[in-house]
């Protein structure tokens, strides 16, 4: 298992922007029948979700979150050394959306910018990547953007995917800080790559003539993902905590990827941790893919003013299959309140850049 400690790095702030368009799953009574929708809500815990408008992309939500965070921290665009975007719903097949955002946010041309393609484990991998750059390179400030508009490409008649996902974009500011550190573990179980997949749309299935239209939609084998989550994830998390002598009782909060309430409850029971230490956002925001961990942190801490420090375990698992965990300390006041927005990019970068001046 890949584990380690990355020194002299700290999370300075987290922001999250979600669409102000709310979908209530009860609206699906006439699609799937009241009884089966109620059963679905009961099991997954998803009552309402914030769903992106047709024109609204991941980049737009991340843009709003990043701008608010930079303003709160008084981070000049020119002071940001790197921008990392993790999404599975980029603006274009090419180029990387991080390059577009570097321009839209008015960051310097000396800024490193790139995309990473990961879902449920995105935040953990993103923190590791950003912290590695700060800890080992001549880099002081990294903006980590994690977001998805997962409802894009969903078959509205497939009950296993139509009612589960919420959309959102997050920004996390990491900075070189002497004496602070991040501990991590990362793992990959690629043998399960077919468990959550959109088979078509890229090079493996590039012929449009013979491709079944459903191949462009998300397929998820819930049972396989569930099996993986309740066996591999607790095993790895327990061994990580043991390796670094992290006392379960001393952790203030365990923030898990918000996959599904039933999965979360089972995972928590297996780990033997109290549910009071596990914040839940899936009931109001749905399964928010890679951004679910920072979104949940913003949901629970967004209005905190105290500079007290929290000891946090963050753990993401899913599509890939990819998983990992992070242990870190963060100020309670690091998160800014949730942003609800209908904003989307209308194609004029100069307008956005003027606003940033």
């Amino acid at each position: 298992m890949a584990t380690g400690i990355l020194k002299n790095v700290e999370i300075k702030g987290i922001a999250c922007a979600v669409p102000d368009h709310i979908v209530n799953n009860e609206e699906y009574f006439n699609v799937f029948g009241e009884e089966s929708v109620r059963k679905f809500i009961n099991m997954t815990g998803v009552k309402t979700r914030h769903v992106a408008y047709d024109e609204q992309c991941t980049s737009d939500l991340c843009y709003v979150a990043a701008k608010s965070l930079m303003k709160k921290l008084n981070w000049e665009p020119s002071s940001i050394d790197a921008l990392i975007l993790i999404t599975q719903t980029p603006d274009y097949a090419i180029p990387a959306t991080a390059c577009v955002l570097q321009y839209r946010l008015g960051l310097s041309e000396d800024c490193i910018a790139f995309d990473i393609n990961l879902g449920c484990s995105a935040y953990v991998y993103g923190l590791w990547q950003a912290a590695t750059m700060i800890s080992t390179q001549n880099i002081n400030r990294v903006l980590l953007l994690v977001g998805d508009t997962s409802n894009f490409g969903i078959n509205q008649n497939d009950s296993s995917t139509a009612m589960i996902f919420g959309d959102g974009g997050t920004a996390t500011a990491l900075e070189r800080t002497e004496g602070k550190e991040i501990k991590y573990f990362l793992k990959t179980k690629g043998s399960g790559y077919k468990s959550i997949i959109v088979p078509a749309g890229h090079a493996r299935s590039r012929s449009q003539i013979n491709t079944d239209p459903s191949e462009y939609e998300l397929y998820m084998n819930g049972a396989d993902v569930f099996s993986f989550t309740i066996t591999d994830v607790p095993k790895a998390l327990n061994s990580f905590m043991e390796e670094f002598s992290i006392d379960k009782n001393e952790v203030d909060m365990y923030v898990f990827h918000q996959a599904n309430l039933f999965i979360l409850k089972h995972l928590v029971r297996k780990l033997g941790i109290p549910m009071e230490k596990v914040p839940i956002s899936i009931d109001r925001y749905g399964n928010t893919s890679g951004e679910s961990i920072p979104l949940t942190l913003v949901d629970v801490l967004g209005n905190e003013q105290s500079d007290d420090t929290l000891k946090l375990i963050l753990c993401g698992f899913g599509v890939g299959l990819s998983y990992g965990g992070i242990y870190l300390e963060m100020k309670k006041s690091a998160c800014i309140p949730m942003i609800y927005t209908n904003y989307y990019f209308k194609g004029d970068v100069s307008e956005e850049r003027n606003e940033n001046q």
Binding site: K39, A223, S227, F262, H266, R269
Partner: protein
């Protein structure tokens, strides 16, 4: 655990009235036997029997008895 106790566990898991499930029933004929039931079954094997059950094994189940036989 007796067969009756095992049936009671399955009845609760599938939201079926107690003492009404027949072990010879075909799963494919039961409307309660859906993708969420499969997930609940995996969870039940894990928490009650400490047993990891693969989805491939579940696909082989034809009757309620096939499940009961694995519950040990």
């Amino acid at each position: 655990m007796t067969v009756k106790e095992k049936l009671n566990i399955l009845e609760e898991l599938l939201s079926i009235e107690k003492d009404t499930l027949d072990e010879n029933r075909l799963l494919e004929d039961m409307e309660e036997w859906d993708s969420m039931a499969v997930i609940s079954l995996i969870a039940m094997f894990d928490s009650v029997f400490g047993k990891e059950i693969k989805t491939e094994e579940i696909k082989q189940f034809r009757t309620v008895k096939d499940i009961i036989d694995k519950m040990e």
